[in-house]
């Protein structure tokens, strides 16, 4: 079993690549995965605390659904609907790890658009976009988020894994083979790193949980290595700018467009930063 993060390169069929190195892995490790990832991240909880009563949100790539039951002190103040591709994870998310509360979950791909346009008031994408295997697919992932929320007030929070890991991280990160990831030649060009992460290492206790026999019988060696694109520096901001541009949205605070005085719409970067080995960005859509 691999014991550290290793560099990888995506082949020329990113969809099949994700199927092999993301979806198949999560389906296989679903039950093990869930028990190790129950704590909501503080910044996500904080974002959700600021959501008003009556709103409906999308958790795109909900995994085990740990955010679907928040806020716990005001049950049902707003509703968050979980989307994921993994049937195994959805079965867990539906009951939030075996509780008697039933959550709302939908099976689907984060690059699909199976919603009324702008149907949601908010969307969160936590540790999901970094599983998309090309920059074009990551841009598409952000576009879907921007399209899923209300053009007038929609709020979005995105979290991805950072190449800059904090000092307590057990992970060992290779620094070779950095790729250029620019969509737009005019943009600043930060680089990230495609890696495989052995799933046992990213749990709090790094002991193997796949029974040996089961692993030998059912799982190809690939299946315990998850694909991640580790983000660096400004990469997440650039991704948002590319997605906004493709949708014809201005990036910045609300302002009327002088060339077209009648209407203008855009997306404001409310806050962005690095926290505990992850980059995050909070967005707000606006329309004038």
């Amino acid at each position: 079993m691999p014991s550290e993060v290793t560099a990888t390169a995506v082949d020329d069929n990113p969809e099949a690549y994700e199927q092999r190195h993301v979806h198949a892995v999560y389906d296989h490790i679903a039950s093990h995965f869930s028990s190790t990832r129950y704590k909501p991240w503080p910044l996500v909880s904080e974002f959700l605390l600021s959501i008003p009563a009556g709103w409906v949100g999308l958790d795109s790539g909900t995994g085990n659904g740990k955010y679907l039951g928040l806020p716990t002190d005001h049950p049902g103040k707003f509703w968050t609907i979980g989307l994921d591709r993994s049937q195994g994870l959805l079965n867990l998310a539906r009951t939030a790890g075996g509780s008697d509360k039933i959550r709302e979950v939908v099976r689907g791909d984060v690059l699909d658009n199976g919603w009324r346009r702008g149907a949601f008031d908010f969307a969160i994408s936590i540790a999901t976009i970094h599983h998309l295997a090309t920059v074009e697919r990551r841009v598409a992932g952000v576009k879907r988020l921007l399209e899923s929320v209300s053009p007038r007030h929609g709020r979005i929070l995105i979290y991805v894994w950072a190449i800059e890991q904090d000092e307590h991280s057990k992970r060992i990160i290779p620094v070779s083979t950095r790729e250029r990831i620019c969509v737009d030649a005019e943009e600043q060009c930060p680089s990230g790193q495609d890696v495989f992460v052995p799933w046992v290492l990213s749990s709090d206790n790094a002991r193997p949980k796949v029974p040996r026999g089961e692993q030998a019988q059912n799982v190809p060696p690939d299946a315990i290595r998850r694909y991640y694109h580790m983000f660096s520096g400004e990469e997440l901001r650039v991704l948002v700018q590319s997605a906004a541009k493709e949708l014809g949205l201005k990036v910045g605070p609300p302002s009327s467009n002088e060339a077209d005085a009648n209407s203008s719409e855009g997306v404001e970067i409310v806050v962005s930063g690095w926290e505990r080995s992850n980059y995050y960005i909070e967005l707000r859509r606006w329309q004038i």
């Binding site: 009556g54 709103w55 509703w79 039933i102 939908v106 658009n113 009324r116």
Partner: protein, 123 residues
């Protein structure tokens, strides 16, 4: 579990299907009733966001006629309880959702609607 609150947000996304692709028609449903936390603040806030005609059509399709055909201006206590029940307490455990435009069928199985399209299911 799919409830009408979620159904109210779903739309067909088959290739080229961009108009008249909502609401998905519910058929062959198996229902379960489960109590949910009653939160009037949610219901009052959600009322202007819901696609009311779609909610009425869907609730009739699964055999509930308790809600008024016209979107209410105000929610009195009775209406709050009815809306709570229709949106959040009726679970569709099994069934089909059919696009009114292209006829694509999205199955609901074990309470989970499957919005994956056929070409993505090859694995």
């Amino acid at each position: 579990m799919v409830r009408l609150i979620t159904h109210n947000l779903l739309a067909c996304h088959a290739k080229g299907c961009t108009t008249n692709n909502f609401p998905l028609k519910l058929t062959d449903v198996k229902l379960a009733l489960r109590e949910a936390d009653f939160n009037p603040d949610f219901l009052r806030g959600f009322l202007p966001r819901v696609e009311w005609d779609a909610l009425i059509q869907a609730s009739r399709e699964i055999g509930d006629t308790s809600l008024p055909v016209e979107r209410p201006e105000m929610l009195d206590d009775d209406l709050l309880r009815q809306l709570h029940h229709v949106l959040l307490e009726i679970h569709i455990d099994e069934g089909s959702m059919t696009c009114p435009n292209c006829g694509h069928v999205y199955p609901i199985s074990n309470g989970i609607p499957n919005m994956l399209l056929a070409e993505h299911e090859i694995w």
